[in-house]
């Protein structure tokens, strides 16, 4: 494709214009990331006075640590559950709103609100709703014989953070699904209707396959979200408990590093997470771009 080249009057100007972004990236991302990689190979004494190089021993120890392996398992459950729930509900909502003619904008706006809520506030909101002594949801659940207590029951705690994290993410997914659906030409639906496909069949054979680039993109983004951006939700509700039941990888980086002050191990954990996000991003760039259908 022909893109217009901008010609600058002096050679230094373009560098000057991109400098602020580069400087911010260097100071707040590249440098700390480099520090994390460096300290993941080091052991530091309790007072921070001496450090020694220990090679890969933090990494080796991590993968021999049952607590860390359990955390990987929990993270997988949490990430998959949030991704499936938030994408599934978002898709249903997008289909529903896409059928509306006049009130679609109103509903879209209202459905976007949860995205504006900060993760901590979202967590606290659900914490109140699920509070075992004052919350309305445990009260309702008690009629079904469920004795809800996320402060004692690890499964309940996990459900709580899944619900809170999903709720926030539905808005984002909804917006992308709706935009994706609106870019499917109406005439395709009409042609399929004439071709004898009912609304349900039309959705699964025409609309959903055409949404696949959007779905794949969201899958990657959601996995990223659950693994990295849910710190606030967890910190505000369960703080990783009870008994580590909700201590997912990103939260464990914090607990081991800032609370346990095991900076070397914490750094190694964050490097592993960093490698994971790099892998996801590579997958996204390689396949999402290529799989665009129309």
């Amino acid at each position: 494709m022909d893109t217009k080249r901008t010609v600058f009057p002096s050679q230094g100007l373009p560098y000057l214009l991109v400098a602020p972004q580069i400087i911010i990236t260097l100071i707040f991302f590249i440098w700390p990331a480099g520090q994390a990689v460096k300290s993941s190979f080091e052991r530091e004494d309790p007072f921070g006075l001496a450090t020694s190089f220990v090679g890969l021993s933090h990494y080796v120890r991590l993968f021999q640590d049952p607590a860390y392996l359990a955390s990987i398992g929990r993270t997988a459950v949490f990430a998959l559950a949030v991704t499936v729930i938030s994408m599934g509900l978002a898709l249903i909502l997008a289909v529903a709103v896409n059928r509306l003619i006049r009130s679609a904008t109103t509903y879209s706006t209202l459905l976007l609100w949860p995205y504006a809520v900060s993760p901590v506030v979202a967590g606290i909101l659900w914490w109140f709703l699920f509070n075992s002594s004052t919350g309305i949801l445990p009260y309702m659940l008690s009629f079904f014989g469920v004795d809800w207590n996320h402060q004692l029951n690890g499964t309940h705690a996990m459900i709580l953070i899944i619900v809170a994290a999903s709720w926030k993410q539905i808005s984002y997914n909804f917006l992308f699904f709706l935009a994706g659906m609106q870019s499917v030409p109406q005439s395709l639906n009409e042609a399929a209707a004439i071709d004898g496909a009912g609304p349900f069949k039309r959705f699964w054979t025409i609309v959903f396959p055409l949404l696949s680039p959007t779905t794949f993109f969201l899958l990657i983004v959601n996995l990223n979200y659950t693994m990295f951006d849910t710190f606030g939700v967890i910190d505000a509700t369960t703080t990783g408990g009870p008994n580590q039941a909700t201590n997912i990888l990103v939260y464990k980086v914090y607990t081991d590093g800032y609370i346990g002050l095991n900076l070397g191990s914490s750094s190694a954990q964050s490097v592993i997470l960093m490698l994971f996000v790099i892998a996801l991003t590579v997958i996204q760039f390689r396949y999402v771009e290529r799989r665009v259908q129309y």
Binding site: S187, L188, E190, A193, I194, D195, G196, G198, T205
Partner: protein
């Protein structure tokens, strides 16, 4: 195959926007009817009501002997070719052709037989395994037609199917559609805003304007005897010349023929005007512009005495040059009389 009967059909959109006013039209079995008119005249709305993609506010539409007002598009047994082709982008050409048959539970061997046959007729056999985006515009157009014919429906509905093609391909596909429809003898309704396409494709032509039918008939009858000023101006290219009677009378004097009561506009086709002849209303004017289109030439002549430009079509090359003066006559037999008030033809 079936006839299509439209009785008293109206379409009113929310906000009391009247798209179609009580309209009657019968389309016979095997006939190709072309709906033509300017944009917004309601022709596409009418087609979409036949297809079942728009609700019918009032009146009835029957396909064969069934009233289809309340039937889903799928139950009407019609096939439609869309302006943008509406091919399923994620399916191969073969899957596109099969989709409608599969949905109806057609047996596998029957599907294969029909797809092979349609692909052969439309010469798309080499592309059956390709995706629509790998095809040219003309090939996509053929696939869209193929998707219609494999279904062997009661009727074909065409919604401006050629308007996305370039001029040469459009002419070619026009002939193919005509040939295909003649061979299959499937009742067809074809919507276009291109009057040349309309004239050449139609068994019967329906000229629409402002949600009403202006005139229905054989294309050549509409050309020869337009029922209204609108049809006179719409059918034929270059369009019919329309001249106010009082101005013409002042110029023509004794040569002015006796006109029926109420005639206040006279129309004449550009090819009806004779240069240098006699026996009619003699006029003269200055040639402002000549468009040589090859076999014929279009002359834009500013008539002396009335401030109006007439278009003349001359066979062959024009023997006059621009800015030259030219004498011509309007033969009485070639004149069409209209009433300005009603817009209708006066006999």
């Amino acid at each position: 195959m079936a006839s299509i009967d439209i009785k008293g059909v109206r379409k009113v959109y929310p906000g009391n926007v009247k798209a179609i006013h009580a309209l009657d039209l019968s389309i016979e079995d095997g006939e190709m009817v072309v709906l033509v008119g300017p944009s917004g005249c309601g022709k596409s709305t009418l087609l979409r009501m036949i297809a079942g993609l728009e609700t019918i506010t009032d009146g009835t539409i029957s396909i064969g002997s069934d009233v289809v007002n309340r039937k889903e598009p799928a139950e009407r047994d019609i096939a439609m070719v869309f302006q943008n082709y509406a091919l399923y982008p994620h399916m191969s050409v073969r899957q596109n052709l099969e989709y409608g048959l599969k949905n109806r539970g057609t047996p596998r061997d029957e599907i294969d037989r029909r797809v092979t046959e349609a692909a052969r007729i439309l010469e798309i056999t080499p592309f059956l395994e390709r995706k629509p985006r790998q095809l040219s515009g003309g090939q996509r157009q053929r696939v869209a037609m193929g998707r219609a014919i494999v279904r062997q429906p009661k009727a074909f509905l065409f919604d401006e199917p050629l308007s996305n093609l370039d001029a040469k391909l459009r002419g070619q596909m026009r002939i193919e559609i005509r040939r295909l429809q003649r061979n299959l003898k499937t009742t067809s309704v074809y919507v276009t805003h291109d009057q040349l396409e309309a004239m050449t494709l139609a068994d019967r032509l329906v000229v629409m304007n402002g949600g009403r039918i202006e005139q229905v008939g054989k294309p050549i009858d509409l050309y020869d005897r337009p029922a209204s000023l609108f049809v006179a101006g719409f059918i034929g290219s270059p369009p019919m010349n329309l001249i106010p009677v009082e101005q013409l009378r002042a110029l023509a004097g004794a040569a002015m023929p006796v006109l029926p009561e109420g005639t206040d506009i006279l129309g004449i086709r550009p090819d009806g005007i004779m240069v240098g002849g006699s026996g009619g209303i003699p006029l003269s004017g200055v040639v402002e512009l000549i468009e040589p289109v090859g076999g014929e030439s279009h002359l834009y002549v500013r008539v002396e005495g009335i401030d109006q430009v007439l278009i003349l079509v001359l066979q062959g090359r024009a023997e006059v040059a621009e800015t030259e003066r030219v004498d011509f006559v309007l033969p009485v037999a070639a004149l069409h009389g209209f009433n300005r008030e009603s817009g209708k033809r006066v006999e």
